[in-house]
């Protein structure tokens, strides 16, 4: 099939590429742009490990074609930290509150947490749990992921946060 030309913004940088229509967004990000932060977990739109932010929505990039992202603004885990390497409050929260063990779900969790906090800066525990219900974690039991997102919400709101010892 003829390849299609797409132009989009990924982590703030303009990208132009040729893609086969059947190329999934996750394969385009990982294999053509070498952004291997978004993971392929279930490949069936259940687990959320492939979650990226696209035009202000959290989407599962295993269930979208790259051609559909033509003209879009995409954010992956690689775009979360500041250019000088300063971690985003969510990344810091996951580190401080032990929000990960194996780390496989973490890129999806953090990118999903980012949109959740954009839409609701001060979520209740229930709202956090419902908000990340499209992201599966098989290690933590979610307790510390919820705490990590609460840490980030507090930090982004300017509240003092207790940092764990290094």
């Amino acid at each position: 099939m003829a390849k299609a030309q797409i132009t989009l913004k990924v982590n703030g940088k303009p990208v132009e590429a040729l893609v086969e229509p059947r190329t999934l967004l996750i394969h385009f990000l990982r294999e053509q742009l070498n952004l291997t932060g978004p993971h392929i977990g279930c490949d069936t739109s259940h687990c959320g490990a492939c979650t990226v932010d696209l035009n202000g929505k959290s989407v599962k990039s295993c269930t979208m074609f790259a051609v559909q992202a033509d003209g879009a603004d995409v954010l992956t885990i690689e775009g979360m930290a500041a250019p000088d390497g300063t971690l985003h409050a969510l990344q810091e929260g996951f580190r401080e509150m032990h929000g990960l063990q194996c780390g496989f779900c973490t890129p999806g969790m953090i990118v999903r947490g980012y949109r959740l906090l954009k839409e609701n800066a001060n979520p209740s525990e229930d709202e956090i749990r419902m908000g990340i219900s499209g992201n599966l974690c098989r290690c933590t039991g979610y307790q510390n992921i919820v705490k990590a997102i609460q840490f980030a919400a507090a930090k982004l709101a300017g509240a003092p946060v207790k940092e764990a010892a290094e």
């Binding site: 099939m1 003829a2 299609a4 086969e20 229509p21 059947r22 190329t23 999934l24 394969h27 490949d43 069936t44 739109s45 259940h46 959320g48 979650t51 929505k57 959290s58 989407v59 599962k60 269930t63 979208m64 074609f65 051609v67 559909q68 033509d70 999903r112 959740l116 419902m130 908000g131 990340i132 219900s133 499209g134």
Partner: protein, 287 residues
């Protein structure tokens, strides 16, 4: 998993889209949110050679009041249904239903039109549309036609849509002020299809049920309109015996398959339990 190869089209209008669907023939499929179609393409359960992406067609989006009806564009997402203030006030059952569909990521992308047009008995909105007496607007190369949701579903993945046609909007008569409605869904986990689910809308007059309509999800090859169960409760005060009778009437029309969600007998029973719960909750919400 990588789907089979296809040619991609992105029309800007409904007119252009239906012309494409007609010209490209039966191997062309419209693409809405894609959260049913893309997984099917990965498994080769669907192998369209042309995809007509409806994502760039502005006229297919949005929610508007038109006379006594609410008209929702087919490409309106579940997330947009949940966020809409007018809908939350006038037709709260849509928000309640959208919130138990899949998960946040899927709801950002999945559309009402896709959910009702796909013909998957596991989808939640079709039973709600039967319950509410909705009408689907359908466009084809020959023009537009309308069909009642109650006449639309013919079998699993089999609907009244002809090749080359697509659903463009869903028209729902706005229920009267003071109505009560509920969608009760039994599922194993967030994101799951229903083991059984029931949609109820009713109105009351002097403590008695004046009107009632009931829809059932995922307990047959198609969504079911439980007309007999609804008739049983009209005129009653929804006492325990009447609720039990209505639940039994709903169970009697359910014919679910045995699957990972449970044996057929259990799922049939749960259809009745969901009807009983939805009736009770709808009543508690009615003025």
């Amino acid at each position: 998993m990588i789907p089979g190869a296809f040619a991609y089209h992105r029309p800007k209008s409904v007119k252009e889209a239906v012309a494409m669907l007609a010209d490209l023939g039966e191997d062309a499929r419209p693409l809405a949110g894609g959260h049913s179609l893309i997984p099917m393409m990965k498994l080769r359960l669907a192998a369209p050679t042309h995809l007509v992406d409806l994502g760039a067609i502005g006229e297919l989006r949005g929610i508007r009041a038109e006379g006594g009806d609410i008209v929702i564009g087919a490409m309106t997402t579940q997330h947009e249904l949940i966020a809409d203030v007018t809908l939350a006030a006038k037709l709260p059952i849509l928000r309640e239903t959208a919130l138990v569909i899949a998960d946040p990521q899927v709801r950002y992308v999945g559309t009402l039109g896709g959910n009702v047009a796909n013909g998957d008995p596991g989808n939640d909105m079709p039973a709600v549309m039967l319950c509410l007496g909705a009408t689907y607007h359908i466009a084809g190369k020959a023009g537009e036609r309308k069909i009642a949701a109650r006449d639309f579903y013919e079998g699993a993945y089999l609907t009244a849509l002809e090749p080359g046609e697509m659903v463009t909007a869903i028209r729902i008569p706005a229920p009267p002020q003071g109505h009560g409605a509920a969608y009760e869904k039994l599922k194993r986990k967030v994101g799951d299809y229903a083991t059984a689910a029931a949609a109820v809308i009713l109105t009351q007059s002097q403590g008695r049920v004046a009107t009632c309509s009931i829809g059932l999800t995922n307990v047959a090859e198609t969504p079911l309109w439980a007309e007999e169960a609804a008739k049983i409760v009209v005129g009653s005060a929804l006492d325990a015996a009447t609720v039990k009778k209505a639940a039994a009437a709903a169970e009697s029309i359910a014919s679910p398959a045995s699957d990972n969600r449970g044996p057929a007998q259990y799922r049939k029973k749960m259809a009745g339990v969901m009807v009983a719960r939805a009736l009770t909750r709808a009543k508690s919400r009615a003025a």
